[in-house]
Amino acid sequence: MARGRISWQAIKWGAWALSSLYVSLLSGIVVGIQYDYITPFYSTTAIDLLVPYGRFFRSLHFFSSQFFFFFTCIHLAAVYGKSEKLPYREWLKLSGTLPIILLLLFTGYILRGDNTGASAGMIAENIINRIPLLGQVLDNLFFSVSGSGLRKVYVHHVITFDFMLLLCAWSHLRIYRVNVQDQKVLIAAMLFFSIIVSAPLEPEHLGTTYIAGPWFFLGLQELLRYLHPLLAGVAMPGMFLTALLAAHPGGSKKPIFLSIMALWLGVYAVLSCVAWLR
């Protein structure tokens, strides 16, 4: 092997993820100063077109959040093999951050109030409402888009899910500190990327025949075409989440759970491609 070649696992993905989180949180505060959930689409468009540097700050918030999720997933894959001694309780909390980050991303999409966001909000509400017994409670607690507009989604995006994320990752973050000084290149790259690439926004057009959901939602959107919403929207994601939570790095049955996750991700990738190509 050539000398000096760096293994992908040696890259400090965790530090990159945390730096992206910092940028996402700070840019989120800036965007929140101008954002109004009462008129979400107007507000988002105004931030992009009228507010000085609004397009840049919204792009920065959007992309840093996406990078945060992306780096967190790679970080998990990179350190998985070295985490055998991690207590099971800690594993549950840390792997539980992934669905919370997805919820943060998802509510962010809804808050745009554009074609994608509005449809995603309605779909989420309808899926949750199909859950027996708890459906209405959960919908009223977390979404209720058709009843309360984006009020609840906004509250959970800016407070609840962030609090849950910190709660789950707190003990991990206390041990592994990141010096922002060491992340100057990454932060500069994110700033530059946000200057040249705009965060997506899809206004409503007359005669729209196809709306693609957020990229991580595409497979689910495709599955909802064939299966009952309870199966496609709850059981399928639940299967992956259960396998993830059960796949403790030190567990004896981890090969089984890792195989389930790999198979699930493979099927989901194919479904996402089908939805994307429509």
């Binding site: 074609n115 509005a118 449809s119 309605m122 779909i123 509400e125 309808n126 899926i127 209405q136 409670v137 009223n140 607690l141 058709s146 009843g147 409503e204 007359l206 005669g207 729209t208 025949t209 196809y210 709306i211 959901g213 959107q221 909802l224 075409r225 064939y226 919403p229």
Partner: protein, 136 residues
């Protein structure tokens, strides 16, 4: 009692009762959260006259006036709630999320995954402005 609780659960009697008290709070919270305040009926005035055989697209519905019959059909897909698009050339509603199709006159499903027909809203046609009042 205290000793039994402590040995079996590791909790003191005080902690056990605090736990029970917290559990009893869950029920009222769930009832509170699950309650749907009934939606206040909204009257939408349409001041624009529609030519016979024409239609008017609003945010929540499409209003049709075909001379002897006037009706307003909901744009909310019965599958998962996405906003439907009206296609004049085929006289159908289509969902941009999963491509369910509905008949524009009857609201019935032409193609799934939706299974239930669309909702109609009451319409009042008037001779002067507002020419139509739709209750959603």
């Amino acid at each position: 009692m205290t000793r039994i609780l402590q040995t079996r659960t590791g909790w003191s009697r005080r902690e056990f009762f605090v736990f029970l008290g917290s559990l009893t709070l869950i029920y009222p919270i769930c009832r509170f959260a699950a309650f749907h305040v009934p939606k206040k009926p909204v009257l939408i005035n349409i001041s624009k006259p529609i030519l016979t055989g024409g239609y008017f697209v609003a945010n929540d519905f499409v209003l049709f006036d075909r001379g002897d019959s006037v009706w307003a059909l909901s744009r909310k897909c019965t599958h998962l709630g996405c906003k439907l698009t009206y296609h004049e050339d085929r006289d159908i509603f289509e969902c941009p999320c999963h491509q369910s199709q509905f008949h524009a006159e009857t609201g019935k499903v032409i193609r799934g995954p939706a299974t239930k027909p669309l909702a109609f809203f009451p319409v009042e046609k008037r001779a002067s402005d507002p020419f139509y009042v739709v209750t959603t």
